[in-house]
Amino acid sequence: MNLPSLLFSGFLILTLVSALGVVLNRNAVNAAMCLLLCLVGVAGLFVALDAYLLAFLLLLVYAGAIVALFLFIVMLLDARGDARPSLHRLPLAARVVAGLLVLAGVASFLLRGRLPSPEVAALPAAGAALKPYAYQLFTTYLLPVQILGFLLLIAMIGVIVLSRKFVPIEEGS
């Protein structure tokens, strides 16, 4: 086994184990740290697949900022693990739906989750270098990027409106 494939397997195991840790941990801070490890593992997988840009963007945006915000919120709310509702109290319908969804996901992965042909796999990854990535963003994916931008803007304005204290104008003053 050569070094790249050894690294790939290592990051694969890291990603899977820490992803399990996110779901199974009762303590919210532990779960967030597992999420961080999981993202680092995925970034490692991207590096092993020659998609360096994607790997570092993932680290910069998700590992560097978003998980830090998660931790920030967890700490501010001081969420304890034991406050989480246990699974047994969920209604039966919810449990059945969740189980079916997981089954459907696993089934679709098993049935169709492989690359169609070696030619596709041999294509250079769009996330490998800056230029093709930026080109894709401004051509193929221009509309999704714009729509997502607007969604984020709407969310931001919504937060400002919701969190702002409106002082009623008193009559006569």
């Binding site: 570092f56 560097g64 900022a65 830090a68 931790l71 920030f72 700490m75 230029k131």
Partner: protein, 386 residues
Amino acid sequence: MIDFYLQLPPLVQGLLKGLAVICVIFPIGGVCSMAERKVSAWIQGRPGPNRAIPPWFAWVPFLGKFLQRLGLFHVMADGGKMLFKEDPIPGHVNKFYFVLAPVLAMMPALTTVTTVPFGAYLDARGQVTPLGLANVDIGLLAVFAVASLGVYSLILAGWASNSKYPFLGGVRASAQLISYELSLTLSVLPVFLWVNAPGTAGTMSLARVVEFQSQPGFLGGMWFIFLMPVAALVFMISLFAETNRHPFDMAEGEADLVGGFHTEYGAFKWGLFFVAEYAHMLVGSAVFTLLFLGGWNPLPWVPLATVAGWLAALHPLLGHPIAIGLVSIAIFLAKVLALIFFFMWVRWTIPRFRYDQVMEMGWKKLLPLAIANLVFYMVAIAILQR
């Protein structure tokens, strides 16, 4: 010797190179803590540390006294003290994260060094080739990505300490670091817009930025600090905030938070936080030097290749690639250390901001300034390079 090195497997070679660089960074971090005490003493008009000396050095007639006055032995005394004193872990902390946090503080600082080039030499064809552990195409992005992981050490240290003041320090740190990351990233975009001229392959490599600052001609040899002063200013201020330096050291403001996130730490774990701060400053100053101060070029409009020519004319041995490499590293380190002196100078001159001032400055002043700067250079570069 060189043959033995070259026949080692690449993994071992990489490890050796990495260790060599860490062996330089770590002691510089320690010495910087000493320099900080000496600089603060100098600025405040007092002698500063000037006592520690091992007996056999005291016997050296002139040099021993000089080194004692310089306070050089306090580095070793402090390091030894921190290593050997008792390292208590308070009973109320989360032990795992409490121990993990100082380690996490060191990791990003030492990892980012891999993508920072620190010198150059002239190869057989007379081409300037950068020296560094890895000259990757996404250089600066890699530095930012890994450096952004540094926030976890502060958050975890604050949370794991399980007491009021460290917790407040951790919360402050996380909000501050995330806020200033925006203006930090936006402020360097004009540099890369200028470097990535149309028709060239897109790159974020730091070595390429230095190459761009060592071209012939008035505009080509100009350092980017003259070309883009506002970008350099925003980058510098954000760097102060990102490295948690005074006047932005909200996370450890000792007047209101005792010691901030490291209140509960002692001995070598506290020392690791301290060295990590200086290692972050080193990497930050190195990136600033590469982006805005011409990297290993000695003076604006005087690139390294010219100096190499002068040296070779002086003596053939001085034109050897190793000599040029050493000269370039010396120039680069001199700039970085000058910047670190600047960091200290600011620390002992300007009073600390209040937290609301920090937030207002980050979001209401620096961020709009960085965006306006970006738009201005976007238009200017589009006109110039068309």
